[in-house]
Every structure is written in structure tokens, then in C-alpha cells.
């Protein structure tokens, strides 16, 4: 018997729990040569702002042990181009689209969410209050529980779409901001965005990134992410989307067992653009091997 891979994120039902993380798959369209994105649970589009953003000066990336630092700065095409150019193509492909969005203040978040509400072809919103690479908005909101609560509530008030809030790990206790987001009206949480990090070219003694500090992603951060998913699962019932260094199906399973309802693949897409196909198959094969009928039986099943 084929196991049931369906999961629910708020009112959104997904055919399987595998998504591509924002900022690692373009607008989803760029992934088409490597696999039909309609076969994904969902694709999370590159972080969107009201107006186009050029992003940060180079150098923006550097390779680190089992990971990378980035300081892209949320370069994106802006709302108008996304709606006119990207979304219609995604709709035609039949992909489930989650729009990651950000602003520099609470009003920006609210306006963007209001304008995305009810747009055909958008299945959910992912509110980015966790980007470490922009001066305002982003992580500045995500590190203050009271700000998180109010910003999420402001967005909640203007959208009927499932609202996912992506949290930063750059905080003492992720359970505090997770609770603030849940109480603000989030339907789900994405855990985690990148960890702040820094690298230096010792020959030139210059920081490797133009903005000096960037966000660390990749397998190097996976244990941190798994820990945070597990911690939040112990205290809140809200669905969690686990994200951070998933490289194989085994890694995705680790997040599900820790308590994630779904997972996002990020940095791995750069190296293995078709890896998500194997991850979906690998989760299915695992369920068969363990005699489990549905993936939801796995969620939070860590044996203590």
C-alpha cells in the first residue's frame, strides 16, 4: 500500500510535506528543468517587498564547512512584477505557491499582506521577520516578542490566507517568539531562518562578506534547527515547518520526528536542484519500511 503523504498547514492541504525554502529556488520557475514543481508540497517564492529591491553589495556569499554564509539582502522583483510576470506562470504549472514577504515596518507588512490576500494562485503567506541581512524590518522585528505579536496580529487582520511566520534562531529562547507569533494569529511557524555568522579572509584580513555579518545555512546548522523544532513542539500545538540544512531524506525525517509537520529544502537546492524529488521518495520509502500508513503518524514521534 502506498503511504499517505498528505499534511495540513492551517487550512492548506499539501500532497506531501516537502517544500523549497524561500530564497533558494527563485520564484519556483527556475526549478522546472529539474523536476515538475507541481509535485512539491509547495514552493516558497523569494522574499517579496512592495517595491523592487536591489539587495546588498557584493561579495554576498562565502562557503563554510557544510554550509554557507549569505548576505543577499532580499533582492527581489517587487510586488507588481511578481503578480504580473511570475505568478501567472506558477499558476499554469499547477504549483502550490507560498509567498514569502517582508517590509521595513509593520505598515509595509500589513499593506503587502492585504494586497496578496485573495490573489488567485497564492496558497499561503510566509511572513519573514527573520532576515538578518536587512537594516530594518526582518530580524529587528523577529527578535522582540512584543513586536512579533503585534506585527503578526496586524497581518492576520488583513488576510484570510494561511499565515506562516518564519522565525529567527538568533534569540535566547525561540519558544518566546514562537508563542508570540502563535498568539498573534499565525497558522504555522517556519523554523529556522539563518544563524548569524561571519568569516574572514585571513590573507587580506578582510571580512568575506561586504556587509561583514551574514546568515549561516546548510547542514552545519541542522542540529540547531532540529533542537528548536523539538523545543517549540513541546510547548505549542501550532504546525511547524522545519528548515535548516536538510540534505537528504534522512535529514527531512529527522525534522518530522522532532515535530515538524512539513519541511523546507534550502541550501541543498543550489548543489542538487532535483534533490527534493529524492526526499519525497525517501520519506515514502521510510514509511513503507516502518509499516506506517501515513506521514502524520511520524510527526513528533521522537521516542524519549
Amino acid at each position: 500500500m502506498t503511504p499517505d503523504l498528505k499534511v495540513r498547514i492551517g487550512s492548506l492541504e499539501l500532497p506531501n510535506p516537502v517544500m523549497l525554502a524561500s530564497g533558494t529556488c527563485g520564484y519556483g520557475l527556475e526549478m522546472m528543468p529539474h523536476g515538475d514543481i507541481a509535485g512539491l508540497g509547495a514552493v516558497v517564492a523569494k522574499g517579496l517587498s512592495l517595491l523592487p529591491s536591489p539587495g546588498n553589495p557584493p561579495p554576498r556569499i562565502v562557503e563554510t564547512p557544510s554550509g554557507m554564509l549569505n548576505s543577499i539582502g532580499l533582492e527581489n522583483v517587487g510586488l507588481a512584477v511578481f503578480l504580473a510576470d511570475k505568478l501567472p506562470k506558477l499558476r499554469n504549472l499547477g504549483a502550490r505557491v507560498i509567498v514569502n514577504f517582508y517590509g521595513s515596518c509593520r505598515d509595509d507588512y500589513r499593506e503587502l499582506a492585504a494586497r496578496l490576500d485573495g490573489v488567485e494562485g497564492i496558497h499561503a503567506l510566509e511572513m519573514n521577520i527573520s532576515c538578518p541581512n536587512v537594516k530594518r524590518g526582518g530580524v529587528a522585528i523577529g527578535q522582540e516578542p512584543e513586536e512579533v505579536h503585534q506585527a503578526v496580529a496586524a497581518v492576520r487582520a488583513v488576510t484570510r490566507l494561511p499565515l506562516i511566520v518564519k522565525l529567527t534562531p538568533n534569540i535566547t529562547d525561540i519558544r518566546v517568539t514562537a508563542r508570540a507569533a502563535a498568539e498573534g494569529g499565525a497558522d504555522a511557524l517556519t523554523l529556522i531562518n539563518t544563524l548569524q555568522g561571519m568569516a574572514i579572509d585571513v590573507e587580506t584580513r578582510r571580512p568575506s562578506l561586504a556587509r561583514i555579518v551574514g546568515g549561516l545555512s546548510g547542514p552545519a546548522i541542522r542540529p540547531v534547527a532540529v533542537r528548536m523544532v523539538w523545543q517549540v513542539r513541546q510547548t505549542l500545538a501550532i504546525p511547524i515547518i522545519g528548515c535548516g540544512g536538510i540534505w537528504t531524506a534522512r535529514d527531512a525525517l529527522e525534522f518530522l520526528i522532532a515535530g515538524a509537520t512539513a519541511v523546507q529544502l534550502g541550501t541543498v537546492n543550489f548543489t542538487h536542484p532535483d534533490r527534493w524529488v529524492e526526499v519525497v521518495k525517501g520519506i515514502e520509502a521510510y514509511l513503507v519500511r516502518h509499516g506506517m500508513e501515513k506521514v502524520t503518524d511520524l510527526i513528533g514521534s521522537v521516542d524519549r
Partner: protein
């Protein structure tokens, strides 16, 4: 995709030439385009490595893609130990390459920068277009493909830091000197194609601006994906940022902001 290694040959102490069988039906690469290579399972190094296509030709009924590489790290060390019959994981071709539209092209390379220029010389030879090559390197062992470029009809001059091959000094000295003798009309018919270290490319851009010739430079910033996903390989143009992987890696030197880098 996995490609079959057809042959591998060590050229000098740390340079190798790798020939891969290009699957029938795959889009053929164009001069200046690149491929992304991975040699290891697991998560280190996490990124693929970009290589400008060195050559692409038909040999006894099959398409052969060549990579010229210098051993500098884990991926190239692994590549050096490949053997005929091994497989190599590669994605591509990616990017926008050289636009070979001038009546005369001069190739300017530093070290391994000769790799993608050779493919341009192959294409120019195919259409009977005149070509000169200026090859620079640290020493004679870092000046590669001199003979082969001559066989493709290029007039070749070399420069090395230690004088072990050709001019002792910078390859850009040779270019500057050769251009200095030409009339404005002749200069207008020449396009420089350059690939090498950043400092060399910057010097080529300066020469092009001073002498009134066009130059196309192939840049090489750190690249994670090679396909416009990570937005990491940004270069500064006069009117904003460009992605080396999608808008380049070959740019008109006049479009880039050299002063800030």
C-alpha cells in the same frame, strides 16, 4: 547529470585536461559558457564548482566537452584522479558567453583564464576569423595551450612574471604595446576577449577604455548555484547589480564598475 570521462591528461605540474562525453540531444555549450561540477557525496564542499568550457568538438561521431583545470582545492584534486571510464556529475551549460561578432578578436588570458578562451578560438577558427592570443602566467608551467592555439590559427605571444616564457612582465603590457601601433580605424575593428585574475581584467578594461577598443571580460566571483537561484554571484555594473551566472559570466568591460572593486 553524469558524464563519462573519455580521457584525462596532465599538462603541467598542476594543470589537467579532462575530456567528457557529451550526451546526444543535450544543448551544445557556446564559447564562454560554464558548467557546474561536483565530485563528492556528502556536504563538504557544499557547493559545486564552476568551470568555463574549454573546448567542445565532435570526435569520431561523439561530442566531447573538455575542461582545463588547475588543482587548487578538493574538487580539482578529485578531478585530477579521474580516469577514463569514471563518471563526473555536472550541470550546465550555464550563462552567456562571448559574442564573437567583430572582424578581429584578441584573446587575453592570465593563468587558467585561457580555459574558456580556447573554445572561443575554436569557434573563430571555424569561421576563418583572425585571432591573436596573449597568454600570461606566473611561469612557463602556467602558460598553457600555446601550440594548440597556434594550430587554431592564432598568433600567440606569452608573458610570465619570471620571464621563463616570453615577455618578462604583465600580459597586459603586450596587449597595450600591440594596440599602440594601430590606427583608430583598425582599433575599432578589434574586440579583446579576456579571462584571468581580477587585477588583469581590470587592467584590460583600462586599456580598452584608453585605446578605444571593445573588451569582453569573463568574471569569476564566488558562485553557489550557477543558475540564478542564490543571487550570490553579483557584480557591480554602472547601473546596478548583475548576476555573473545569468547575465554573464562574460560582460562588456565598459558596463562594469571597476573603480569600486
Amino acid at each position: 547529470m553524469l558524464l563519462d570521462v573519455r580521457a584525462i591528461r596532465q599538462l603541467t605540474e598542476d594543470f589537467y585536461l579532462l575530456e567528457l562525453r557529451w550526451p546526444a540531444g543535450m544543448a551544445a555549450p557556446l564559447p564562454g559558457q560554464f558548467v557546474m561540477v561536483r565530485t563528492r557525496e556528502g556536504t563538504d564542499p557544499p557547493w559545486r564548482r564552476p568551470f568555463g568550457v574549454h573546448d567542445f568538438r565532435r570526435v569520431r561521431g561523439e561530442h566531447v566537452l573538455s575542461l582545463l583545470f588547475q588543482v587548487v582545492g578538493p574538487t580539482t584534486r578529485d578531478m585530477a584522479s579521474l580516469q577514463a571510464g569514471s563518471m563526473l556529475d555536472l550541470l550546465g551549460p550555464h550563462g552567456r558567453g562571448f559574442r564573437l561578432e567583430a572582424s578581429e578578436h584578441w584573446l587575453v588570458s592570465g593563468g587558467r583564464g585561457v580555459a574558456p578562451l580556447f573554445f572561443a578560438a575554436r569557434a573563430l577558427n571555424g569561421r576563418g576569423a583572425p585571432c591573436r592570443a596573449f597568454l600570461g602566467g606566473r611561469s612557463a608551467g602556467h602558460v598553457l595551450r600555446e601550440r594548440e592555439l597556434e594550430r587554431l590559427g592564432c598568433r600567440v605571444e606569452t608573458a610570465t612574471d619570471d620571464g621563463s616564457s616570453g615577455h618578462r612582465g604583465l600580459v597586459t603590457d603586450l596587449v597595450e604595446r600591440a594596440l599602440a601601433r594601430l590606427s583608430a580605424r583598425r582599433l575599432a575593428s578589434i574586440v579583446l576577449l579576456a579571462c584571468g585574475p581580477h587585477g588583469m581584467l581590470k587592467a584590460v578594461a583600462g586599456i580598452a577604455a584608453r585605446r578605444g577598443v571593445q573588451a569582453q571580460v569573463s568574471v569569476d566571483p564566488l558562485m553557489a548555484c550557477g543558475r540564478g537561484l542564490c543571487l550570490g554571484c553579483t557584480v557591480q555594473a554602472h547601473d546596478g547589480y548583475r548576476l555573473a551566472c545569468q547575465h554573464g559570466p562574460v560582460f562588456n568591460s565598459r558596463d562594469l564598475a571597476w573603480g569600486t572593486t
